[in-house]
């Protein structure tokens, strides 16, 4: 792409055609994946295995990050709120920022780099070593057998990880705010419960993470399937998964926030 003349008319045209070609293929690929998802219901073991590799193995990083993000929120929030003498609102601050934004977004970013990249590398390498071709020869559809379970495992894992991240983060905020800095425990929880609405905050946050999980899984399996079958191609596809996922998550987050929290 960084040829001598990509700023020429022809270069821009080539770039545009390339981009639209990939976008079109990505959309067609998503359609194919969804159409071939029936196998996931018939053989749930396939999905369970992928949930283990994507979700369960991401647990440690998600829980530890959640704890520290919550602790930092508690510390920073306390410093600022103390200026206005309203430390008791710390619980609200920690819970709302985690439920609405930080929980879904950071979990999705971590999940994309921890699990999304692995999925891309795995599928890309399967393609490079012609395992996918071999499956086709044996009349096994690689999209149904390899791609769809990984896709659905990502969609299932993200909301669960987000819920755990957020719960852990609120506990971290509680640890720093109440145990360490001495915010009143009663007002910490009761103000939180008064301000956090189940439908508006908890459910919307989970819907967000579901959308992120869908986007990450789509990008990860597509980049793997589309990777040039070389060592360089697979490494480039893995990098692209992380970069594209991160940008998509942040962009989607803005769109979803403006749709969901308009009246607040």
């Amino acid at each position: 792409m960084i040829d001598k003349g990509w700023l020429t008319v022809g270069g821009i045209g080539r770039w545009a055609i390339d981009t639209f070609l990939r976008l079109g293929f990505a959309a067609r690929f998503l359609g194919l994946t969804l159409l071939n998802s029936g196998v996931c219901l018939r053989r749930p073991r396939l999905v369970v295995r992928e949930v283990y590799f994507s979700g369960v193995l991401s647990l440690v990083i998600i829980l530890v990050s959640g704890l520290f993000v919550g602790m930092v929120l508690g510390l920073q929030g306390y410093q600022t709120l103390k200026t206005y003498g309203s430390e008791s609102a710390l619980g609200v601050l920690v819970a709302l920022s985690l439920l609405r934004e930080l929980g879904p977004v950071i979990t999705a970013l971590l999940f994309a780099s921890r699990a999304g990249s692995a999925v891309t590398a795995e599928i890309g390498l399967m393609k490079a070593t012609e395992q996918l071709r071999a499956m086709e020869m044996m009349a096994v559809d690689p999209i149904a057998r390899v791609v769809a379970p990984r896709f659905w495992a990502g969609v299932i894992s993200t909301p669960l990880l987000t819920a755990m991240f957020t719960a852990m983060g609120i506990y971290g905020g509680y640890l720093v705010g109440v145990v360490l800095l001495g915010v009143d425990e009663g007002s910490f929880w009761s103000q939180m419960q008064n301000s956090v609405d189940f439908r508006e905050d908890v459910v919307n946050g989970l819907l967000k993470s579901l959308a992120f999980g869908f986007a990450i899984s789509w990008i990860a399996v597509f980049e793997g399937y589309d990777a040039p079958p070389t060592a360089e191609g697979v490494s480039g596809a893995t990098t692209r998964t992380v970069v594209t996922s991160a940008l998509t998550i942040l962009f989607l987050d803005y769109i979803l926030t403006s749709l969901m929290f308009r009246g607040l």
Binding site: R45, V48, V56, L160, M164, I170, F198, V202
Partner: protein
């Protein structure tokens, strides 16, 4: 890794996610209130000014939450704000002359409706209107009154 132990881990993972969700719903959010709420009845009250009162604000009597504000509307006939309150059924013995006021918890806290029971024998039933109300204290009005009352006094030395 054996298949069965893999299944166990995924099972623990899913259960952990559900538990986290339950904690978020019950301990962090207000889903517990919705479950515990039980049957309610509605009362209306019209206020001259509601200040910053919002739907879902608590209704308290003697400081205890007895219900929530459901809707806030504007009556074009009387130019008053009409607030609908949903009160828990077990607190159905508020006298007819109960006084409804809008208070603020703390200096900058949320606003809520306070009910002060009167002494009437008859009680408020579903759909009744609370006739005795007091409008919210608006900080600007208060400062304005303070300024005009100070204007009359001799200047401090």
């Amino acid at each position: 890794m054996e298949r069965s132990s893999l299944d166990v881990w995924v099972g623990i993972f899913v259960v952990g996610g559900m538990v986290a969700l339950l904690i978020l719903a019950l301990k962090v959010g207000n889903a517990g209130d919705l479950l515990r709420a039980g049957p309610t009845y509605t009362l209306t009250a019209s206020f001259e000014n509601i200040g910053g009162l919002k739907p879902k604000a608590p209704v308290r009597s003697a400081g205890v939450v007895v219900g929530r504000v459901v809707t806030i509307d504007y009556d074009p006939e009387t130019f008053n704000a009409v607030v609908t309150l949903s009160i828990a059924k077990r607190f159905d013995r508020f006298p007819k002359d109960t006084f409804a006021s809008i208070y603020t918890s703390g200096l900058l806290g949320e606003q809520y409706v306070g009910l002060a029971p009167g002494g009437d024998e008859k009680v408020l039933a579903n759909g009744d209107r609370i006739s005795k109300t007091q409008k919210a204290v608006v900080l600007e009005d208060l400062i304005g009154q303070f300024m005009t009352s100070r204007a009359g006094e001799p200047a401090a030395k």
